[in-house]
Amino acid sequence: MAGTGDGSSDVQWCFSQVKGAIDDEVAEADVISTVEFNHSGELLATGDKGGRVVIFQQEPESKNQPQCRGEYNVYSTFQSHEPEFDYLKSLEIEEKINKIRWLPQKNAAQFLLSTNDKTIKLWKISERDKRPEGYNLKEEDGRYRDFNTVTTLRVPVFMPMDLMVEASPRRVFANAHTYHINSISVNSDCETYLSADDLRINLWNLEINDRSFNIVDIKPANMEELTEVITAAEFHPNQCNTFVYSSSKGTIRLCDMRAAALCDQHTKLFEEPEDPNNRSFFSEIISSISDVKFSHSGRYMMTRDYLSVKVWDLNMETRPVETYQVHDYLRSKLCSLYENDCIFDKFECCWNGNDSVVMTGSYNNFFRMFDRGYRQDVTLEASRENSKPRSVLKPRKVSTGGKRKKDEISVDCLDFNKKILHTAWHPLDNIIAVATTNNLYIFQEKLN
């Protein structure tokens, strides 16, 4: 059980696996754009810029190695989206998978939603491990038999075959977004889901793909008056009528669908007051929220802006209850980060299974974990150098002052091209998936 009494001080993280190519030359298509565990943690899905989805499945724990949780191996891979060109609008539509969200499992098959900038697709992933044999009118290879040669009748039976995993698109939800989709979120009612673009949020029924309800529209009548855009949205984990959306101005709005059909009027507005003395050109840019995630309990939500992670109590709108600095040393680098566009990087964040620890990525392939209870944090690195099986990850440190201790890395030596934007935490165990540009690292808690 994740986090039972153990804070960061007790948990040691070990390298488990790394997926992807080792070459330094990264093809555009191989850039990982989303990572998501399913509800049981048995499956781990990744999406990339090339529009492909790869799903890994955890091997059952072997009796020989009870110390190790199962490894993740490829289960299924398919092309989810393809590049398109909208000739009417002169718009190039990237095939990059922006988000993957799993549906809770209801039968033998698995379902997930994957989306690019414009189109959401529902994929069914099913297993086939039997095939019918012993037809009367067909040979085993499919050729029809001359029925004059049929002298007896037999009943075809299902015989076991090598496992085949098939992915098929069951629904395509298209043409509902003028702007670029940044989020999808499945409702706890398992019947509906929302999709959010820069200015609008739509509500869909999973069964119906030719109709969508618009529930939030922040497009101003005059586009010159545009001041903020929607950056992320998510349904509450338990209350099917509640969802939140974050903005580029650092605010989060909570909406209740029972209040009105169009939720332009928020029920709650979460905003931390800003110190006007500290305002600079960069203030608004770095306050833009790149990700919002409810805690599993539904009591809290977490937001990620450029430099920090904030935990909000849904009962208190005035300020977050916790603020964690991810890489505050970047404050003195904002000028160059603006020039190289890194200031616009969208980092995601995630909770562990029991909401005691939060995690997010940084630069130089570093990622950070903050233990809420023990008030401790750690910086770890995803790199091939630390990839011996079950080797324990050593905490990393960035030196900010003049004196750099041994093993510390100075801010000026950080590689801003090595960014960890996407991380995921297994819903039940201490297993994490961390995506570097084109590699997927899986780390597990050291068990002994």
Partner: protein, 116 residues
Amino acid sequence: MSGDNEETQTTEETTMDDKETQDKVISPEKAEEAKLKAKYPNIGNKPGGSDLLRKRLTKGQKYFDSGDYNMAKAKIKNKQLPTAAPEKTEITGDHIPTPQDLPQRKPSLVASKLAG
């Protein structure tokens, strides 16, 4: 993780240093802003500040004008245009990207390397 407490303290010390010297030295953020304004004096002068937002909304926009495209095609057919020295002035119709100039967006036929 013995290093954790040290790290927290370092961050706190840095913040406290900033607060202490704030009267004398401007915050690192403001110093960075000054640097940016020195390099790009006109930045942020436009009202609304929505340039960034509009740039975000129009991501992926490629412009194609069939009239310009056909005129450019006709010009090239008639004569070889002398490759002039790169000039700052652009002539509309000669420089607007045509469908051939757009990078070919073919779907990935190769399987993901994560599955390798």
